[in-house]
Symmetry: C2
Subunit: 161 residues, 2 copies
């Protein structure tokens, strides 16, 4: 048996399903958590759940620009949750962050499903054409795989709340 | 541009690299942790680091049989770390578990790299041929993607020690 172009689409769909599984698990757990639980620390002295939530919203929102899918929905979150540690500046209300989480993923999930295999194997927006020619693994699909692990990493923390 | 069989190997290699990245990160962090840190709880009342380590050894060791790569190296860990909760039965010494972690991955990583794309898209050992015919996504590659998320999930916890 030889693998074919059909397999490429099939394999990319497996990677998309792995991503969606992580989002769905997080969704379900988030529904079970009260705001008070979410606002507590995941472990003594560590990030609060609400900061981890904001961080994941910001990282997912950033995929719109990184993967060429459009503009970020909540660009103000980038500084707050990617470049600023927890408990140094005020952050949006927990209810707002829950809404952002659903909004970003509701738009992101179908946009990811719309990318073609050729697009998945093309460069993402943070790598130059020159560097991409040397390192073709720096493609959109690799971003998805890496973000799936990142999402799972933080889910392992949120589950401790 | 059409995708080709070459792309299939290329994409599978991306998934393998994502897996190896998680193993390497865990390795590096494990080296930094003292036995005492590893024997403490990841959060109050939660699993000890050493239990999470044993769990990951058992899950990785199980990949030998699940992916048709050979026999498990430490079959006695399956009951201890997959079916038994932490702090209910005695577990191996921390130094032993560290050794098992390295041993299993040292054998597993090259074995995974040796699978062909056709084998990756073939069924894993826990699904029947009949069920696999209906659900071809239940292949070896899907196991790898799922275990990569699982490894990242627990790394997000070990990092709290």
């Amino acid at each position: 048996m030889e693998t074919t172009a059909t397999d490429t689409r099939f394999i990319i769909n497996l990677a998309l399903s792995a991503w969606e599984t992580q989002i769905e698990r997080f969704d379900k757990h988030l529904e079970k958590l009260t705001d008070q639980q979410l606002e507590s620390e995941i472990a003594p002295g560590r990030n609060r759940g609400v900061y981890v939530l904001g961080h994941l919203v910001a990282v997912n929102d950033n995929l719109f620009t990184l993967l060429g899918l459009g503009e970020r929905m909540y660009p103000q979150l980038q500084d707050l949750f990617i470049r600023t540690p927890d408990r140094t500046v005020p952050i949006p209300a927990t209810a707002e962050l829950r809404k952002y989480w659903y909004d970003v993923n509701a738009k992101l999930t179908p946009a990811l499903r719309n990318l073609t295999p050729e697009e998945w194997l093309g460069k993402h927006s943070s790598v130059s054409a020159e560097d991409f020619a040397k390192e073709p693994t720096r493609n959109k699909l690799n971003v998805l795989l890496s973000r799936t692990s990142h999402q799972a990493y933080h889910f392992g923390q949120i589950i401790l709340l």
